[in-house]
């Protein structure tokens, strides 16, 4: 049993040399592999849920699928106040499911792709581009630029900063919560492993030496702490991310 604590870093499985200066080498990391697993899980689930769709006399599976779609529709429509942003529904739904499944996949022992800042940064940049595009579409490019000088021209740097802070804060909020969950889970397992090793070494002879390698105390408690650090935090962060996405885009369309 290793007695020093180490955080679960994302492993790099394969490095492909590209020679492109800024982007660097293409690395197949744990993040990417698990992301693809997440995508396969979600897509498989969608295909499973929408098999044998009927108009009448529907199965529980179809009722569940319809409930999911209705929930997504209502979520976007209620938060934007109308049907103006219906084209966003699949995007928000994909963002939410990917986030939730990515967060919760740590429960089956894989490393969450969301415990890698690149993932959240990618999502936040996409959302940022959508917000900016909506603003430009609403107010025109001149109006968009003019929006930075409100209420007075002196405020311009701060407005630019706050604009840039949006994606940064979105990405870092999500990433920080999930990473903290990973670190705390790791700490709990490490501490429980040490505790059970210390406890079982009290048994004399070879039996004690063998049993002390099994972190028997790690069986119950992580499930309890996991309710908050994995389940609640994971779902909450996905929800917050999607909520902010919808809110920012709806606000962007209202200005001017």
């Amino acid at each position: 049993m290793n007695s020093s604590f180490e955080v679960d870093y994302a492993k790099i499985y394969q490095t492909i040399k590209t020679g492109i200066p800024v982007l660097g080498d293409f690395k197949i990391t744990q993040t990417l592999i698990v992301s693809w697993i997440v995508m396969i899980i979600i897509t498989g689930l969608c295909i499973f849920l929408t098999r044998n769709l009927k108009i009448e006399n529907i199965s529980k599976r179809q009722a569940f699928a319809e409930m999911l779609v209705e929930t997504a529709n209502n979520f976007v429509r209620n938060n934007t106040g109308g049907n103006k942003f219906d084209h966003l529904i699949p995007f928000v739904a994909a963002l939410f499911t990917t986030s939730v499944v990515s967060n919760l996949i740590s429960l089956i022992g894989l490393r969450s792709p969301t415990a890698d800042l690149s993932t959240e940064a990618a999502w936040a940049i996409v959302v940022f581009v959508m917000i900016t595009a909506t603003k430009i579409k609403t107010n025109g490019f001149g109006g968009y630029l003019k929006g930075f000088t409100t209420p007075i021209a002196v405020m311009t740097p701060f407005n630019v900063l706050s604009e840039l802070a949006t994606p940064v804060s979105m990405a870092c909020r999500h990433f920080g919560n999930i990473l903290s969950g990973v670190v705390i889970d790791g700490l709990i397992y490490w501490a429980l492993g040490l505790a059970s090793a210390a406890l079982l070494k009290l048994i004399p002879g070879a039996v004690g030496a063998f049993l002390s390698n099994i972190p028997i105390l790690g069986l119950g408690l992580p499930a309890v702490t996991g309710v908050y650090f994995d389940w609640f935090s994971g779902c909450m962060q996905a929800f917050i991310f999607c909520m902010l996405t919808v809110m920012y885009i709806a606000n962007a369309a209202e200005e001017g």
């Binding site: 982007l23 990417l32 295909i47 849920l49 779609v69 990917t98 890698d116 800042l117 993932t119 996409v126």
Partner: protein
């Protein structure tokens, strides 16, 4: 038929994805030598780009496999419900118009019946009236005829009585006088007398 075929296509698509993933895992597993790790907090450009693409791919997949079929089904069901409601409304309005029709015809029948009854009553009254009138007239004529008959009988009786009295008087006078007198002379005399008496 079409749906089944589509489901089969989706299944094949999914299996292909799975196979691709498994192959990738094997490839990575076979070729890995050491397991270097990346920094805990870092931005890897390629991961960043791939994750953006992944997100859009996921949007496409979720749209194709969840939202499109479910929204289609919801739309179909909505149309069906609309149709049922529309049909029910049509049936309702039809029933309403029929009811109105029945009601109006019923009212008409009622008034007609009332009219018929009143007409019959009027007719019966008229008939009764005429009958009574006829009866009265008949009675009056019978009465008049009876009165005339009586008058005639009276006259006849009086005339007969006159004749009787005349002849009687003559008999009496004959007997009194004991002598046959000229009947014709005396007849005039007696008639005068009787007339004076009758007056």
């Amino acid at each position: 038929m079409n749906e089944k075929k589509n489901a089969g296509k989706n299944g094949i698509f999914f299996i292909a994805l799975l196979a691709f993933f498994v192959a990738l895992l094997f490839y990575v597993g076979m070729t890995k030598k050491v397991e270097p790790t990346q920094e805990l907090v870092t931005l890897v450009p390629w991961t960043f780009i791939i994750q953006i693409l992944n997100l859009f791919l996921q949007v496409y997949l979720i749209k194709k496999f969840l939202f499109k079929p479910i929204n289609e089904i919801l739309e179909k069901r909505k149309n069906l419900a609309d149709k049922v409601i529309r049909e029910a409304r049509d049936a309702q309005s039809e029933a309403d118009s029929l009811k109105e029709q029945y009601e109006s015809s019923l009212t008409k029948a009622h008034t007609e019946a009332a009219q018929i009854v009143s007409e019959a009553q009027k007719e019966a009254q008229a008939k009764a009236d005429t009958m009574v009138k006829e009866a009265e007239e008949e009675a009056a004529s019978i009465k008049a005829r009876a009165a005339a008959d009586i008058e005639q009988e009276k006259k006849k009786a009086i005339n007969e009585a006159k004749d009787e009295i005349g002849s009687l008087a003559m008999d009496i006078a004959g007997k009194v006088v004991e002598k046959e007198i000229n009947e014709a002379d005396h007849k005039k005399l007696i008639d005068d007398f009787i007339n004076k008496v009758g007056a």
